[in-house]
């Protein structure tokens, strides 16, 4: 059963510039979807649009269905009810996402007070339990601390405690480990993995780290230039990607994780992500793509079988026809 369904989501800046351009994606009940792509691909904006937390200057059109309910048509009151309860979010910067003047336990308990109507004492007790579940040492003491007294990894654990406090149906995790030390990233991810499994909730994991995606996710969505360029099962996409961009991402991350040829040069994707609005017409990736042809001046549709779809005129494992400019 489809839990969360995004249809033709477009997020545009004040000038009408589309930062997210016609994105559609589905998350099934209990499914884990990895959303990958370089910075500036529109991943975080997609998550914020689903939450209904875009700033006032950004405009979102399209539909986001939660079950059968169109969230974009729902009242702000209804959206507040769902936020933090049915749909919760983990942010990239745990340093910034906690109120510096509020004790940790109180912040964790807040969600329960809002959505479950718990009293002060009951919320405080529940907060200590939750802090224990996210494996913080001495949860009772942690609950009385202020965020600056905790380390980055501990703060991200606190964020997770907040995110799972109301047994959400889906958690949107926006690069939950990017701001953390490499040494604690793995443990935080293991915790996220375990919590999602225990809660039986769905997960949208936004990340650059393909190794993490391959371990944690059932399906992968690749975004580039505000569009979905490839969707498919994790196992298939991370071994034989069809879109040149997914392949390029894969190459850059494999070189770091495997003892690749040690010629001292890390592989990188040629060029860099253009500024919003500076993407080429047609396929947004064509300026950087090794397989480009004249055909790429026309935007390729997202096409494929039921499970694996790619937006590319010359997907990998299919010969490039015509005159290549390569």
């Amino acid at each position: 059963m489809t839990l969360l369904s995004v249809r033709d989501l477009t997020v545009s800046a004040p000038g009408g510039l589309a930062l997210v351009d016609g994105v559609s994606l589905d998350i099934e009940k209990g499914e884990r979807v990895g959303l990958i792509g370089e910075s500036g691909s529109g991943k975080s904006l997609t998550a914020l649009a689903v939450m209904g937390l875009l700033g006032e200057e950004l405009k979102a059109t399209g539909h986001v269905f939660f079950g059968n309910e169109d969230l974009f048509a729902a009242s702000e009151r209804r959206r507040c009810q769902l936020r933090g309860d049915a749909i919760s979010m983990i942010f990239q910067e745990p340093m910034m996402a906690l109120n510096p003047t509020m004790r940790v336990g109180k912040q964790v308990g807040e969600t329960l007070r809002i959505h479950r109507g718990l009293g002060r004492r009951a919320a405080a007790r529940a907060a200590v339990d939750l802090l224990g579940r996210v494996e913080l040492p001495d949860p009772q003491r942690c609950a009385m601390m202020y965020p600056h007294e905790l380390s980055g990894g501990q703060r991200q654990r606190v964020m997770m405690a907040i995110a799972i406090s109301c047994d959400p149906d889906v958690v949107l995790a926006d690069e939950p480990t990017t701001a953390l030390d490499v040494t604690v990233q793995r443990r935080v991810l293991e915790l996220l993995d375990r919590l999602v499994a225990e809660e039986h909730c769905a997960l949208l994991l936004i990340t650059h780290d393909l190794a993490v995606v391959s371990e944690m996710c059932d399906r992968v969505v690749t975004m580039y230039g505000g569009r979905v360029v490839e969707v498919g099962p994790a196992a298939r996409m991370l071994t034989s990607p069809a879109h040149p961009y997914t392949e390029a991402l894969l190459e850059t991350s494999l070189a770091v994780s495997v003892d690749a040829p040690s010629d001292g040069v890390l592989p990188a994707i040629a060029g860099s992500v253009p500024a919003a609005g500076a993407f080429p017409t047609g396929c947004p990736f064509r300026d950087r793509c090794p397989r480009r042809t004249e055909a790429c001046e026309v935007t390729p549709p997202l096409a494929g079988d039921g499970t694996h779809a790619v937006a590319c005129w010359w997907p990998i494992a299919q010969p490039v026809a015509g005159t290549s400019t390569r």
């Binding site: 309860d85 996402a97 807040e110 009772q140 003491r141 009385m144 995110a163």
Partner: protein
């Protein structure tokens, strides 16, 4: 569990006290403010002479052991009157700053949270208030209500409103743009609760520092209005009207205006330094936790 909690809280407050003790502005400012407040409290129950007691046989007396600051043109004890005057100054400072805070902070929060037309209305009203000559407002008020301490406090309070609107709005905008407010919205907090639980606590120190700074200005302004005869009127002792009467007898007894002048200086310096100290401590704390 409770033992641990109490210990942690104790350690925190000790560390806080230590930070205070090492900040010269806060220490000097706090001491001077303490002196003024103590004087005002003592004057409630004891002054060397009743501040209104006239003694025609000892007018314009020089300082002596009987009258440490001398006596004024009616033979009233100047020390007693300076002590009594501290009450008026503090009272005027407290009320005018509270009036300005009570109106300015909510208006600033509204402007920051709503944006758009409500913000423009609040900000333009505040600009108009800011541009309107405060003295003219005070004259108008005292013409309408009669000269009194209350009139002076109202005039000063209204004149200070724009300062709080601006300080509150600019600081609230920063907090509203922070990730923790986004996170609070992400777990379902309503706008009003966000203002109360997340924005207010985070701008509180700035607002308090501003209150302390404006407190000193309010004391100065109140003395000025009294001097002009728009505020507290004789025979009630206030520092401002004491300077004014002293001026008349400047050639006979120049010290008569000096004593209340020193009192104003001490109080203004005290509250200014205290305000700066609070602001410095706040910046140091933010710098450390960032």
């Amino acid at each position: 569990m409770t033992v641990v909690v109490v210990e942690a809280a104790g350690a925190r407050s000790r560390a806080g006290l230590w930070r205070w003790a090492r900040n010269p502005s806060a220490v000097v400012g706090g001491t001077l403010v303490g002196l003024v407040v103590l004087t005002a409290l003592v004057s409630l129950v004891w002054t060397p002479y009743p501040p209104l007691a006239v003694d025609p046989s000892h007018t314009l007396a020089r300082p002596s052991w009987a009258h440490l600051f001398g006596t004024d043109e009616y033979g009233r004890d100047v020390l007693s009157r300076v002590m009594a005057g501290s009450r008026i100054s503090l009272y005027a400072g407290v009320v005018s700053v509270l009036v300005a805070t009570a109106v300015g902070v909510p208006a600033g929060l509204l402007a920051a949270e709503r944006g758009g037309i409500p913000a423009q209305v609040v900000l333009r009203l505040s600009d108009i208030l800011y541009a309107f000559p405060a003295l003219l407002a005070a004259i108008t008020l005292s013409a309408a209500l009669g000269a009194s301490t209350t009139t002076a406090m109202l005039a000063i309070g209204i004149a200070f409103i724009p300062v709080f609107v601006r300080v509150t709005r600019s600081n609230a905008l920063v907090v509203l743009g922070s990730d923790y407010v986004l996170a609070a919205r992400a777990y379902g907090r309503r706008p009003l609760a966000i203002l109360r639980r997340h924005v207010l606590p985070n701008i509180a120190t700035t607002v308090i520092a501003q209150m302390s700074l404006l407190f000193s200005l309010a004391i100065l302004a109140e003395a000025g209005l009294d001097y002009l005869g728009l505020g507290t009127t004789p025979p009630t002792a206030s520092w401002g009207n004491m300077i004014e009467t002293g001026q008349t007898y400047l050639s006979q007894d120049p010290l008569l205006s000096v004593w209340p002048g020193i009192a104003i200086f001490v109080a203004v310096l005290g509250f200014t330094l205290l305000g700066e100290g609070i602001a410095e401590l706040r910046n140091a704390r933010l710098g450390r936790s960032a």
